[in-house]
């Protein structure tokens, strides 16, 4: 049966073209693509390196609500609009089925984002205009620096199924001129 090889296939010569292809694949995929991940840590500005802490959801909720009370500047859709001092820490939580509170931030300023889920797995997605997506867990607080670039309204959506009503789960970040 020709689908089986000759007895001792490891003595076979490998064709020149296949040797060239394998070499090319090693250089491109194994060497270059892998190195690129580290290169981006050095030159790129979008990385997921931050900190994470285990938190008690109730305590975290109280912390976010205190933050929202302190810097509240308005209200939209029953949620506070919060404008923290530029460059400071911003707190947000995700819960079925909302992101709380609504943030008002300055373009071009670097903030530190604190975000955690209070109940189920959620997806933190700055969906439109699309920036990036993070995975959230109940009881785990992410702490990451980030920097809004241009003024505008940025819509958040949950992109991890979190129960019936998931489709309803939105949030908002308003970015204004510096």
């Amino acid at each position: 049966m020709a689908v089986a090889p000759e007895r001792v296939y490891w003595h076979e010569r490998v064709s020149r073209l296949e040797r060239i292809w394998v070499t090319l694949a090693v250089v491109m995929v194994v060497v270059f693509f892998s190195a690129m991940m580290l290169v981006w840590h050095a030159v790129g500005r979008q990385n997921t390196e931050g900190q994470a802490f285990r938190v008690d959801p109730a305590a975290y909720r109280a912390q976010v609500e205190a933050f929202a009370r302190q810097y509240r500047v308005g209200e939209e859709a029953g949620r506070p609009v919060v404008e923290p001092p530029p460059g400071g820490d911003v707190y947000m939580y995700a819960t079925r089925f909302a992101f709380y509170p609504i943030l008002r931030l300055r373009a071009g300023v670097r903030y530190t984002l604190h975000i955690a889920s209070l109940d189920y797995l959620h997806g933190f997605s700055i969906t439109h205009p699309h920036q990036w997506n993070l995975q959230l867990y109940p009881g785990y607080e992410w702490v990451l620096p980030f920097q809004p670039t241009r003024p505008g309204v940025y819509n958040l959506a949950c992109n991890e199924f979190c129960g019936i009503g998931h489709e309803f789960m939105l949030g908002k970040i308003i970015v204004v001129e510096r």
Partner: protein, 563 residues
């Protein structure tokens, strides 16, 4: 016994009746689940595209679609392939046919339990990834456990059969490449199913109240040790099927046995790190930059190297077969003069091309540490896995079915002209849908598992995506409908053939399905040039590199994040 086995008129393999019956049972069950999954796909597609069904119906049917397609259709078919590779290709009686039937029964019982749990009520189901603390009903978890145990038993029968063949010297020389690939796949399957048990058994105990809670972080982490590797089983099976189809359709053999086997060994070593890609946007700290760099970079890319080797060796096999048959002029005559009327051949070519360009490249891109920020849980991920398991695996399995029908069921495929069109309808449809999904995800950030991008269930913060999104949703919808038509045609052809196809005699089988032999005597097949393949691969590499860098360029425009 005269009736215990027959010799296949086409391949010369010994086909034992017991094996044949098991292959039939598993393959037919697979196609039934393909049908169920296809019906569920209609609901999913019309909701995403036009918002036709309520969100709760959407969630229910997306779970039904996922479990039917990704698990039941594919794994039942893979068990059929294992029985074929172990018993038929090695000319051996199946070791433990009763056990193999037990496995089939357990898998079927498990699958029916899962589907029933999903269908009973939308509130009982979970999405395809059932992350705690979302809790399903006990029968859902028990069904997954039964199915996994059944699949493990089937894999055990395969190992025992290969061992028996070796002991009885039923085959000469090393294992055929296809069996080698199936063997590697089976090893991966054992690891996958055991890890699956590590999450679904505790989930079952939790659902009946024996465990108070599950750590959601640990559960998801371990879940992906099952979730992604379960798709690596598909990868191994798909590639084994590609080599088999290259041989059956044009008499193709790999340019290098040694290199192709090395590629499978690279899978064995590194492919399960695909699961680590699901942890790229997790709360960090636990996974340091160094951990990600080594594991999702260098080590995982060893498995990608395996795929790059197959990307050369599979088309290379076809080229070798075709050139040996006399289609030896120029660089691409071998491809132009392929047996395009044979649906198995067009399935093979389309499956390889779509898998490579759409599924494979995007898997590497989406799995890259920073690029995952743009891809994670958007429709682009749906684009990736439909590129892999639908355009790749499912199309390859469809292609193989066009040989299973005549060689195992011994019936002539009804309506050859429709059969010749079917892979194109399916392949092009899926391809169009996949490209639209990727655009929607990476550029526009459309979330996956979101049934209502029009009104968000009247959320007070509802917003409107730009008009391009709705145009792309239409493109995806039309592509999806084409694919569904191709899938429905496939099911109709299979059912029609099994029930009403004309029975084939050995003479007819030899005449119509003979494996092509070299026209002249071109010498050793491996010395035949593979330069057409080489050029195709260079085009592929250029595309891959461009896409990879374009994704970084796109990411560079996003809000800065992280240290």
């Amino acid at each position: 016994m005269a009736t215990e086995a027959r010799t296949c008129a086409v391949t010369g393999f010994r086909v034992y009746r017991q094996t044949e019956a098991l292959i039939k049972a598993n393959a037919v069950t697979a196609v039934v689940f393909l049908l169920v999954g296809g019906v569920a796909a209609v609901v999913v597609l019309l909701t995403r595209w036009l918002g036709l069904f309520a969100p709760r119906i959407f969630y229910q049917f997306i779970a039904l679609h996922g479990w039917s397609m990704l698990i039941f259709w594919i794994i039942f078919f893979e068990v059929a392939i294992l029985h074929f590779a172990g018993s038929v290709m090695l000319n051996t009686r199946l070791a433990g046919p009763r056990l193999a039937w037990t496995a089939f029964g357990l898998m079927l019982a498990g699958a029916v339990m899962v589907e029933a749990a999903i269908l009973r009520s939308p509130l009982n189901h979970l999405s395809f990834q059932p992350y705690p603390p979302l809790r399903g009903t006990w029968d859902f978890y028990l069904g997954t456990d039964l199915f996994a145990v059944g699949a493990l038993v089937a894999v055990g029968v395969f190992f025992a059969t290969v061992y028996r063949a070796r002991r009885e010297k039923a085959y000469e020389g090393p294992l055929p490449l296809v069996v080698y690939g199936a063997f590697v796949t089976a090893v991966l399957a054992v690891a996958t199913l055991l890890v699956g048990a590590m999450v679904f058994v505790p989930a079952f105990l939790w659902s009946v109240g024996l465990i108070p809670s599950l750590n959601p972080f640990v559960w998801k982490l371990v879940y992906w040790g099952y979730g992604h590797p379960s798709q690596q089983i598909n990868l191994g099976a798909t590639i084994s099927v590609w080599y088999l189809l290259a041989f059956l359709t044009v008499g193709g053999v790999t340019p290098s046995e040694k290199i192709s086997r090395l590629a499978f060994v690279l899978y064995l070593v590194a492919i399960n790190l695909g699961s680590a890609h699901h942890l790229q946007t997790e709360p960090s700290a636990a996974l340091s930059v160094g951990w990600k760099w080594i594991n999702t970079g260098y080590l995982m890319h060893l498995a990608v190297l395996g795929s790059m080797i197959h990307a050369f060796a599979v088309p290379g096999s076809v080229e070798i077969g075709q050139r040996a048959r006399g289609y030896d002029r120029g660089v691409f005559q071998w491809l132009a003069r392929g047996p395009w009327g044979n649906p198995a051949f067009s399935s093979l070519v389309l499956s390889v091309a779509l898998f490579g360009f759409l599924g494979g490249t995007t898997g590497v891109i989406a799995g890259t540490e920073q690029l995952n920020l743009k891809w994670h849980n958007t429709t682009a991920i749906m684009g990736h896995f439909h590129g892999v398991v639908v355009a790749g695996t499912t199309l390859a399995f469809m292609g193989l079915t066009y040989y299973v029908l005549p060689l195992i069921f011994r019936r002539e495929v009804i309506h050859r002209r429709l059969a010749a069109v079917q892979p194109w309808l399916f392949g092009i449809g899926v391809g169009v849908m996949v490209v639209a999904f990727m655009q929607l995800g990476v550029r526009f950030g459309l979330p996956r598992k979101q049934p209502d991008v029009f009104g968000f269930g009247r959320s007070p913060l509802a917003f409107r995506y730009p008009p391009e999104v709705f145009a792309l949703l239409t493109v995806a919808g039309v592509g999806g409908l084409l694919a569904l038509a191709g899938g429905a045609l496939f099911v109709a052809l299979v059912v029609g053939t099994v029930l009403w196809g004309r029975r084939l005699t050995d003479q007819e089988l030899q005449r119509d399905y003979a494996i092509p032999r070299p026209a002249s005597n071109p010498g050793h097949p491996r010395d035949v040039s593979v330069r057409g393949t080489f050029i195709l691969c260079l085009i592929f590499a250029a595309f891959f590199l461009t896409m990879y860098l374009a994704n970084y360029a796109n990411l560079a425009r996003a809000w800065p994040i992280g240290h």
